[in-house]
């Protein structure tokens, strides 16, 4: 899905909880987060953390060294 959107001329970035799989699938840009499945934005009712993760995700959208997998720490 991500590749199809990117191919249509819209820049994309995804969160990944399973970077080992993401490296196989090779979407254009992904940010690996250190959380469990079901918690891509970290924690429920944690707006500050969720905003910080979104900002980190937005920060990789300009990257052109695709496929890129970054890490949120």
């Amino acid at each position: 899905m991500q590749a199809e959107i990117e191919r249509a001329g819209i820049a994309t970035a995804s969160i990944t909880l399973l970077p080992e799989i993401t490296r196989k699938v090779r979407p254009p840009r992904a940010l690996a987060v250190p959380y469990r499945l079901g918690f891509p934005l970290g924690e429920a009712n944690a707006p500050e953390l969720q905003r910080a993760i979104l900002k980190a995700l937005l920060a990789i959208v300009h990257r052109e060294d695709v496929p890129y997998v970054g890490e949120y720490v």
């Binding site: 959107i5 819209i10 399973l18 905003r51 937005l58």
Partner: protein
């Protein structure tokens, strides 16, 4: 998280599943600053606006349909139809922003981090083991929505 932390059942699945590799990897150059961009979310948490058609977990190979979630949706009212045993649903049930951070996008617009929130966002059902129809049928429709709304950036959030 590392695959070694998955349950045995799901570890076996991800090891034996034939993951499709994106090749060539497309790259769209973003010509604008993020602060000027219209941003949309694409989530695979199986969230649906109340009253909208539920996702159907009985479809073989996965429910490849999609739902639109408008920018003014009340995130706390969204209904989750994802039934996968692979993940703990308590986070999404307590706060759908944990997989569909629409409230956070509005806040990032207010503080100038992004330009604006797209009028429509896309909700998918994850756990699609047979992605053929997703790619052939759903993806072009999703792309159509994002293009019609002149979206600059799409953020994809799995669960």
């Amino acid at each position: 998280m590392p695959l070694s932390e998955l349950s045995l059942k799901h570890r076996l699945f991800v090891k034996t599943y034939r993951w499709r590799e994106v090749d060539p990897v497309p790259c769209t150059r973003l010509e604008k600053e993020i602060g000027e961009c219209r941003v949309a979310l694409v989530s695979s948490a199986g969230l649906v606006v109340p009253g909208d058609e539920p996702f159907d977990e009985t479809i073989k190979g996965g429910d490849y349909s999609y739902r639109v979630i408008p920018a003014d949706a009340d995130v706390s009212s969204l209904v989750e139809y994802h039934r996968s045993s692979a993940f703990d649903h308590s986070g999404v049930e307590a706060d759908a922003n944990v997989a569909f951070p629409l409230d956070r996008l509005h806040e990032l617009t207010a503080d100038g981090t992004i330009g604006e929130v797209a009028p429509r966002h896309v909700s998918l059902m994850g756990s699609i083991t047979a992605p053929g129809r997703l790619v052939a049928k759903t993806a072009p429709e999703v792309v159509g929505i994002l293009r019609d709304d002149e979206v600059d950036v799409a953020l994809l959030v799995p669960v």
